[in-house]
Amino acid sequence: MATAYTPGLKVLTEAVIRKDRLLPLDGEVLVKKGDKVKATDIVAETYLPGNVVTVNIANKLGISPEDVPGAMKVAIGEKVTEGQAIAEMKSFFGLLSNKCESSTDGTVENISSVTGQVILREAPLPVQVTSYLDGLVSEVYPRKGIQVETTATFVQGIFGIGREAHGELVLRAEDPNTILEASTIKPEDKGKILLGGSIVTAEALKKAMEVGVVGIVVGGFNDKDLRDFLGYDLGVAITGNEEGITLIVTEGFGKMRMAQATFDLLKSRCGMMASINGATQIRAGVIRPEIIIPLTGVKTQRDVDKEKEKSPGLAIGSRIRAIREPYFGRLGEVISMPAELRKLETEAMVRVLEAKFDDGTIAVIPRANVELIET
């Protein structure tokens, strides 16, 4: 029997998800193994030295560099605030005073009697990593970060833009075919992740950003609108750093009815907090955008680590979805897999399968143009 395999996206009701959360530079891990964490908790941080600001006291007070130390009102190591007088020169028997103020908050790092300058170091810049997920700390990597683990509903999109986001998942579509229009978006959607249907319009995306929506999950999106949003044509699909909003597309480009199973699953999770990431890399070593909804408090079947299961591959009886025109998005079951090649409209001779769609119609489709439904 043929064991031809066609990879599909994950749509898992329940799975154990583990994520490494790492600092870019060594720092301090703020939690310990076994701790419960929330998605927005800072789990590790480090500080970069603050910016350096030089103040030329000698010039400002009109004194010579060697007189600067004597004019100082603050010492090395002392904290100063913006506007605070840090040096002063009195003249005319103390009746006239000339002051030099700090231009910033910081710490006095150096006072030079050679150059007449004072170096102020601004406050250190924090670099922090959040947990991203509600869950448990399953591993600690000293000075680097943690691994967080959670049992969650896990849905992969096919393409996305934007960074990690966290918010309540709310339903903004009647069914998987609904178009997410600007009129659907409300001011109370600020900070939320919207579940749409087949497509989000460019106007709706713009309004969502204005309102402060943090993410949108939808079946499809027009590439033309993507280009307008990004300001350039995406050459290679490597995303994840775009500002403004996180958009996850589950089916493809254009108006694409969201897969019923995906829509039903996400709809059932509306009202719950979700962590999403639009980062996508379409290349060998693929990264898909994701929606993770931790299941704390939700009654589910006993957890099964779905990630460890190996799919049996494409075979008679397999549930499939067509992933290319003219049957794009249609669900069905494989009823036969002829060994001989068949001729398409293009006149190409290819390996095909016969599928019975859920509406009962039967079609012959190239095997390359279907994906397995993984549940």
Partner: protein, 608 residues
């Protein structure tokens, strides 16, 4: 040493970026012949993340087609039995596919830009340019390196003899990022250092243990000069050695094969050189895949008279993973100019983008096929431009360019690629080898490469050149037998006048003694004429270019030639060289329909 001259049953695979192909060869009497081939999507992505899965799937399909057991317990069955298994199993791979790299330079507008030019010129996609003065904080640069997972990093900075601190800081940043490859543990990231030679020791100290570091000549040895050649060459070489071959499951695959797995471009290059040497001809070969388009040329160096082989891998051009990059590089209008049907831009963009995100799918409607073939013309054209600019003389020396040269990136007359001297143009890769009608492959090659004078066109019948290339390393007869009898399909000769043609005028007179009877006439400007001249047939031709146009003997000079046929026929191309399509849309569509109809490209033209 084992004697492989007596082997009878051979299995060979090529793991491409998108598709894994398996071929089965048998010795029949005294001659080796291809029996059949199977294919399956390459499985480097999750959840399989193991290239051997795709190999097993492809071989499993082959088993069904030939009715012979080739697998046992999920491994290749090695056996000397007449009834099952194979005696040898070989493979090539480009399963990593595509080269996406980051470059780093001290000053963004100087070494940063030079590094970018070096990488682009080597056919890579540049994901990010990091510079000391790019406005980002160190941790932001580190995060960028980690997030983007480049296949390779090119580090440059500082003129030779200048200060070393900035470039060493960049090296420290890369070390701190501790960049991981896209897949596979135990795979060190290639880093090329092409900066101030005085900093080499420090850079080696910083990065040597953490990355696969190689140093080459400074790309900016002094401010006024740019020397990109050594860095470009190194990018190329490292790509072939490291990136292309390092798919997940690669180690397991290596344990199955008889000889080391060859990178696909290496294997194809080997066979191209075999053709050139065997027939003593100049050749251009192209392999257009999912992630990359590889161009090979064999020409005589006019200065030294020696035969020179050049190979370029355009890792930014392909028809699946890289398809959107082709669109981004050439622009949608350049693609649509080859399509005789008006399409809504929104729909078209969506269709192309959907192919990018689902790279293993194939066109099932005629219009989709026409669009993909239009995109392939552009990918081939761009890859060829890159090849022409990189092809070097025998010593492999690139001229040291001044900075003003660097900004003036026109291809020089020093390119070795001489389209008039070209004798055979061979195409390989899915879109060419699997074109449902061979004429489609012929016209894609002609439109993209615009060969001049008389050129034989050929395709790799089912895309097996990589496998034959690696087979040749253990049994040259087997490789050559299959190559001659089963691999290369001669499409026929293309006769093309060179020079700009004037619409409405005649461009060539011809008198050709075809096997079916003599024909003579005038070829008009912009016309393509297909004459019946089959495989293994020849015809004597008397060809006279008109109005100062050239067929290789000089402007207006007639040419007497023995013309060779093929499965498509003899193509007379009166479009001139270089040719472009009419600006007027109606005219353009009219011309395309005329050419497509003459060549019988499709069963019907959508919209007609």
């Amino acid at each position: 040493m084992t004697d492989y001259s007596k082997i009878r049953y051979i299995l060979a695979t090529d793991c491409g970026s998108t598709t894994t192909k398996a071929i089965y060869i048998e010795k029949q009497g005294d001659v080796y012949r291809l029996v059949n081939r199977g294919e399956a999507p390459t499985t480097v992505e999750a959840p399989a993340e193991d290239v051997t899965r795709g190999v097993l799937n492809a071989v499993s399909e082959l088993e069904e087609l030939i009715g012979r057991k080739l697998l046992k317990d999920n491994e290749i069955l090695i056996s000397s039995s007449d009834k099952e298994g194979v005696e040898v199993y070989l493979s090539t791979s480009s399963a990593g596919g595509g080269l996406q790299m980051m470059v780093a330079g001290v000053v963004k507008s100087m070494t940063g830009e030079s590094a970018q030019r070096a990488a682009l010129g080597a056919g890579a996609i540049v994901m990010d340019v990091i510079a000391s003065n790019d406005g980002r904080l160190p941790h932001e640069k580190i995060e960028a390196i980690r997030r983007l997972r480049p296949d390779m990093i090119l580090l440059s900075g500082g003129i030779d003899g200048g200060t070393i601190s900035h470039v060493v800081e960049l090296a420290e940043l890369i070390a701190a990022a501790d960049p991981k490859p896209r897949f596979g543990a135990g795979f060190a990231l290639p880093v090329i250092y092409a900066g101030n030679i005085n900093a080499r020791a420090e850079v080696e100290k910083t990065l040597g243990g953490k990355t696969a570091l190689e140093s080459v000549a400074n790309i900016r040895p002094v401010l006024e000069k740019e020397n990109l050649g050594p860095a470009r060459q190194k990018i190329h070489d490292l790509f072939m050695e490291h990136v292309m071959a390092q798919a997940p499951g690669y180690k397991k695959l290596m344990s199955w094969t008889l000889v080391p797995i060859m990178p696909t471009p290496g294997a194809v290059g080997a066979i191209i050189q075999t053709i050139a040497k065997k027939y003593d001809i100049s050749v251009i070969g192209v392999d257009i895949g999912g992630a990359t388009t590889d161009v090979f040329s064999v020409f005589k160096d006019p200065d030294s008279e020696e035969i020179v082989f050049n190979r370029t891998v355009s890792a930014n051009l392909g028809l699946s993973y890289s398809i959107s990059n082709v669109v981004a590089e050439t622009g949608l209008p350049n693609i649509m100019r080859w399509v005789p049907v008006h399409m809504d831009e929104t729909e078209l963009r969506n269709a192309i983008r959907n192919k990018m995100i689902r790279p293993t799918t194939i066109p099932s409607t005629l219009l989709e096929l026409i669009v993909e073939q239009a995109i392939s013309r552009e990918a081939l054209r761009l890859a060829f431009e890159q090849h022409k600019s990189l092809a070097v003389g025998l010593k492999g020396v690139q001229k040291q360019r001044t900075i003003s040269d660097a900004f003036d990136q026109t291809s020089t007359g020093e390119s070795l690629v001489d389209l008039m001297a070209l004798e055979i143009l061979v195409g390989s890769g899915g879109v060419l080898s699997h074109a449902p009608r061979r004429a489609q492959a012929a016209i894609m090659l002609v439109d993209a490469f615009q060969p001049q004078g008389i050129t034989m066109l050929a395709v790799d019948s089912i895309f097996m050149m990589p496998q034959l290339g690696v087979l040749a390393t253990i049994n040259e007869k087997a490789a050559t037998d299959v190559f001659e009898k089963d691999c290369l399909i001669y499409l026929g000769s293309c006769v093309a006048v060179t020079g700009l043609v004037k619409p409405g005028t005649a461009v060539m007179k011809y008198k050709i003694s075809l096997p079916s009877g003599p024909v003579e006439g005038e070829l008009m400007a912009g016309q393509i004429k297909l004459l019946p001249l089959g495989l293994d047939e020849t015809a004597e031709g008397e060809l006279t270019p008109l109005r100062g146009l050239d067929l290789g003997e000089g402007p207006g000079k007639p040419k007497l030639a023995t013309l060779r046929g093929g499965v498509v026929g003899l193509m007379l191309d009166g479009r001139g060289r270089p040719f472009s399509l009419p600006d007027d849309d109606k005219e353009r569509v009219k011309k395309l329909v005329e050419w497509f109809t003459e060549l019988k490209l499709y069963e019907h033209i959508p919209g007609e």
